[in-house]
């Protein structure tokens, strides 16, 4: 089983800390979402893990070894960093053949990953003619070339069409189910929630959270219930009588916090308040994330000049 271990990893770019004392472990058998706004240090972290940049301090290892020590690393680790890495004047197949040759991978692996990423029909076309989504697929094909135990993908959903997004979700789920270690960076909450089991959240180079997705959302956002009625006055009175924290939105819908559909439905039925709509609203990763970053801002915000 191959984990990625990052310890106290720090990288300064011209005095600014792009990555600040990161410590985490990415475990096999699940998809770990690497989440944070643009510029939070996600890509820098991935480059440090791959030995492409030298850390100012700290270490990053894969299966206990620094990446540059791996023999034929594509057989152990596959990475998508830049969708633009393939030269526009080369065909996708030639691009992958060169990469395969460097790690003594057979040409049949090239054809296998081209088929897997849906690029087989265009494999002999120049990459210059590809859409961003196709280049992204080519980058993913390169990452899968050596059938690696560890897969690192930087913003893989960028530029993919809706069909491609469904495909990448299924691919990530399958890779994790096969017991691989999968780390996927994204700045899109909804997207990450759709495929990740576990989250690493980064803000300004620092680790803000290292937690299962479900737990993270439930700990941060309380569930609430949406109610719509033909008799707002009666509903308002009912909610007030039971001391429920509720507010009325502009469109006439009520939002009741810290309540459950089961309880509220019974109450309204007993009070004879007509129900047009009664639904539990699932908390989203986005809300949990905003709650986290708001809390973080309180600690990190510097007093502004007045």
């Amino acid at each position: 089983m191959t984990s990625i271990d990052v310890r106290n990893l720090t990288k300064e770019h011209g005095g600014r800390r792009a990555v600040d004392r990161l410590t985490f472990r990415v475990r096999p058998g699940r998809v770990t979402g690497f989440l944070g706004p643009n510029g939070a240090g996600k890509s820098t972290t991935l480059r440090l893990v791959l030995g492409l940049e030298r850390p100012t301090a700290g270490t990053a290892t894969i299966g206990g070894h620094p990446y540059p020590r791996l023999r034929e690393p594509l057989r152990r680790v596959g990475a998508l960093l830049d969708a633009g890495a393939a030269h526009g004047s080369r065909t996708a197949r030639d691009h992958l053949l060169a990469l395969a040759a460097s790690n003594r991978l057979p040409a049949r692996r090239v054809d296998a990953v081209l088929a897997e990423t849906g690029l087989a029909p265009v494999a002999r076309r120049r990459v210059r003619t590809y859409s961003l989504g196709m280049r992204q697929r080519l980058g993913i094909a390169a990452a899968l070339l050596g059938d690696p135990e560890v897969v690192l993908l930087d913003e893989p959903a960028n530029g993919l069409d809706p069909e491609g997004i469904v495909w990448i979700r299924a691919l990530l789920r399958r890779l994790a189910a096969e017991g691989r270690t999968v780390l996927v960076s994204s700045h899109l909450m909804g997207e990450t929630a759709a495929f990740a089991d576990h989250l690493l959240i980064l803000g300004r180079g620092r680790l803000l959270a290292d937690t299962p997705v479900r737990e993270f959302i439930h700990a941060r956002v309380r569930p609430h219930v949406r109610v719509r009625t033909t008799d707002p006055a009666a509903l308002g009175a009912l909610l007030a009588r039971h001391g429920l924290d509720a507010s009325r939105d502009e469109d006439g819908t009520w939002t009741v916090r810290h309540a459950r559909v089961d309880d509220l439905g019974r109450l309204m039925s007993e009070a004879g308040v007509p129900v047009l709509e009664l639904s539990a609203r699932e908390a989203t990763l986005e809300e949990a994330y905003l709650d986290l970053t708001a809390a973080e801002a309180e600690f990190t915000a510097q007093p502004q000049e007045t």
């Binding site: 020590r69 830049d82 393939a86 030269h87 004047s89 990469l99 460097s102 390169a142």
Partner: protein, 236 residues
């Protein structure tokens, strides 16, 4: 892991990039064509260089070849993908240099001998002898290879084809042409002047044909060492 897989990968990259094949073809075509034109207007004082005059143009194509082969790694994050496959940067850069040198030498030697045959046919009685001619042809192949490697090393330092060609082309066209006429000076030791001594029937500077090529080789080695150092030291 041995050196061969990295070399194999770099060779595939070179043979699958049309601009690089175009540059190699241009080495041959430019050298032969401009040499043939030059033989029509020769005063007979330096028959060997009359035959190989076109190398001034062919070496520009050789420089474009070496530059493009390296600079293509510095666009769109290509180098990051390359180094994630071959993390030993020293080995990777050596493989890249070898993958540039081998086709450049093959095309350079072919260019040398084709130019020689064309030149001998064009000059007739005033043509250089075979021993001078073969020395010129081999020197032509070596010189073109060394120029490609010199450019490759510089491109790894500057990390850009535009920057590299902006330095080298004006240097070759202006500095070397102008200063190069002042024979017997330090200009003899400039990389393109030194290597081209091998293409002259006579020489009066400090450098002879082989010592001149050796000086060119030192320039190429210095550029490659600087390029290798830059690739190893800097973040990709």
């Amino acid at each position: 892991m041995s050196f061969v897989p990295a070399l194999h990968a770099e060779w595939i990259k070179i043979r699958t990039l049309r601009p690089l094949l175009g540059a190699l073809a241009a080495v041959l075509v430019a050298t032969v064509a401009f040499s043939a034109l030059a033989t029509a207007d020769t005063d007979g004082t330096d028959p060997l260089f009359s035959v190989f005059f076109g190398i001034n143009f062919g070496q520009i194509a050789a420089i474009a070849f070496g530059t493009t082969a390296v600079a293509s790694e510095f666009r769109g994050g290509a180098l990051r993908l390359t180094l994630s496959a071959v993390p030993d940067r020293g080995r990777w850069f050596a493989a890249k240099a070898a993958a540039i040198a081998l086709p450049a030498l093959a095309v350079g030697l072919l260019t040398g001998f084709v130019t020689l045959l064309v030149g001998r046919a064009a000059l007739g009685a005033s043509a250089p002898g075979w021993s001078d001619g073969v020395r010129g042809a081999v020197g032509c192949g070596l010189h073109l290879t060394l120029m490609a490697l010199f450019a490759a090393g510089l491109a790894a330092v500057l990390r850009s084809a535009v920057a590299t060609l902006s330095v080298l082309i004006p240097f070759l066209l202006i500095v070397s042409f102008v200063v190069g006429d002042l024979s017997g000076s330090a200009a003899d030791f400039l990389p393109d002047r030194a290597g081209q001594v091998a293409l002259h029937s006579t020489w009066d500077g400090a450098l002879g044909p082989w010592s001149g090529l050796a000086v060119s080789a030192l320039w190429a080695a210095a550029a490659l060492a600087a390029g290798g150092w830059s690739v190893r030291r800097r973040d990709a």
